[in-house]
Symmetry: C2
Subunit: 378 residues, 2 copies
């Protein structure tokens, strides 16, 4: 299948119902992508991902480059075959992890020099190298290398990072076009990334620069890094307004369940976040009545399901008391069941959001969700 995107319906809020077609399947948008860091969504088999209705997941280029290495994965036929996942995969550029995980990084216009967090070995990540790795992985959607900055950051620094990101985006695009045949997935698409820190005008300018480069899709990066939620929405909306309506928009690294519909209302079509998976392993579970910390003693003899409104395998079969016991005993099954539920909760929230858009009622849905979750928070 060729990469393509169709907007099926637009809601009064600006939210879009869409269909993204990739070499490994069709994705209903707005879509949430679980994070499969090192070729696995921690705690879930690929069979479980399929059962949960996952259509696309995110793989981390940084992690896979360091271990097991992109050439090994290329030789195994690409990431889909390596991990036996028939659905779609989006890979990030590796940049975010280089900036957040690695040691001794040094950024120049050429690229980023860093040391592996695993063994201290030195590596140099350039826009071209990032694409070389992502072509070996053969994701359905690759991302350009961008410079991620901290929040808050001075305007000058934000402008400089946005400028460098645009330069790198051009180099990534040119490399990807020239070496298209090197990808283990024919038809791999490349998304540009809008930067610009917390400055709406820089965001708009960054978006316009990227649009000139004509990507099949656009991401909005460097948000949800500590700024207030309202600011995230304003900046995302400012960027989205400059992006072509016919191309998919991906807001990177968001968010809490109750925030997802706000981002969708900014005109965003794709999101990813480690929260459902990471929080699951820490015993923080999302429910229709708010968050639950399953280690709390109040659940020790609680025979109710985690979420009485949830139809997932965990809520159908297991009690809060059992989930608490597994967590306290540090059992592998705690990670399995908690992750299963949280990922289901995110995907189910997105299903409800898509339905609300289809009925043109996203604003009402968001208000109701907000009210219910606020009432339920401990």
């Amino acid at each position: 299948m060729e990469f393509s995107f169709q907007v099926l319906k637009t809601d009064p809020t600006g939210a879009r119902l869409g269909r993204l077609t990739t070499p490994h399947g069709v994705i209903d948008t707005p879509a949430f992508m679980p994070v499969g860091t090192a070729g696995t969504v921690k705690g879930l088999t690929q069979e479980a991902l399929a059962d949960l209705g996952v259509q696309i997941l995110l793989g981390n280029t940084y992690h896979l480059y360091l271990r097991p290495g992109h050439e090994l994965i290329r030789n195994m036929g690409g990431l889909h075959r390596f991990m036996s996942w028939p659905g779609a995969i989006l890979t990030d550029s590796g940049g975010y992890q280089v900036f957040s995980l690695s040691d001794l990084r040094k950024v120049t216009d050429e690229g980023v020099r860093f040391r592996s967090h695993l063994d201290g070995s030195e590596h140099f990540l350039t826009p071209e190298k990032s694409l070389e790795v992502q072509q070996a992985l053969g994701s359905d959607i690759a991302m350009v290398l961008d410079e991620c900055i901290e929040y808050p950051a001075e305007r000058g620094r934000a402008a400089e990072a946005a400028r460098r990101t645009a330069d790198w985006a051009r180099r990534c695009r040119d490399y990807a076009r020239e070496r298209e045949d090197a990808s283990t997935t024919p038809g791999q698409a490349l998304f540009g990334i809008v930067q610009g820190g917390a400055y709406a005008d820089l965001r708009r300018e960054s978006a316009r620069r990227l649009v000139e480069l004509d990507f099949p899709g656009y991401a909005i990066g460097g948000l949800a890094v500590g700024e207030p939620h309202e600011m995230t929405c304003e900046l995302a909306a400012a960027a989205a307004a400059e992006l072509p309506a016919a191309r998919p928009r991906y807001l990177m690294g968001v968010g809490l369940p109750e925030q997802l519909s706000d981002y969708v209302a900014c005109g965003v079509d794709m999101m990813d976040c480690v929260l459902p998976t990471r929080n699951a392993r820490n015993g923080c579970l999302f429910t229709s009545a708010g968050r639950i910390s399953i280690k709390n003693a109040r659940y020790a003899a609680d025979s109710r399901p985690l979420d009485e409104n949830c139809s997932c395998m965990v809520c159908r079969n297991y009690s809060r008391a059992y989930l608490r016991h597994l967590y306290m005993a540090n059992e592998v099954l705690a990670a399995i069941l908690n992750t299963h539920h949280n990922v289901h909760f995110y995907l189910d929230t997105m299903r409800k959001i898509r339905q609300a858009i289809a009925f043109g009622e996203l604003a009402g849905f968001s208000a109701e969700l907000q009210a219910r979750l606020e009432a339920g928070h401990p």
Copy 2:
């Protein structure tokens, strides 16, 4: 369902094909019971256990007594409901873990005083207490408290432990009969345990003492603790010869896959072992061509399934290279997939053993298995 046992066929080796009926389902014997230490077979959901064809699993009384506590489990309706496992459960007495895991144990005729390996708290385990806990758990089969000794042990010490075990067996039986109604599983059966160290005459004497107490089933304990495999078989066979043919026989804590048919040929109907699950988490995988240590660099780019003769979900879908990557990256999925395969391998071996008995060909099957595994060992 009432507890009952039928021997359907006896093979020339002495192996028995049977059917064990319990309050939670029928079990085809010879049966292998995966170990579900703390109310979970580490790494597997209860859905996976059912998919694998597990009919009975083992729960550890010691672990569940300490955490989450047997009264909590009683209040949750028993262990089956607590862990949402509809199949059969056998619980051990807690004795083995007290002898192997806890601190400061002191054995008297009254019972065993010990300190919890979790928090150092002091507890006193008596035959009656063990039954009280197992009745709260509501296993389908409970075990009498026995005294486990080290190998090698002096004859005097082995005789003394066997004597004490028989006394405790009587106390357990009397307590269980008097308090039958206290079990969360009506119809819970109680098995006696043969001890006697490495002394065949003591084993026979121990078995005869227990048979006088008229248990619905008999276990052979304290074997596979370091003695040679041939000795294990001789001692098991010596005990089995004294046990009534119409009652099930359970050889505790065995064994390697290539040894299972030997134990079955001793007239054993049930077995349990942590090897498939514990080894899985250490990357040691059982295959039809012998054991594989998946961390070995030779598997880094090996696109073959773990075991080409295996039909399990893991071998159908994943490569050795991927399994090695997951293990090296310390991913939760490594434990999940490795455990799934190893448990499948044990259950499949037992299925083949049952088929061989049905055809009266267990001796040939064992010889062939032995030859194949020895050829395959690295």
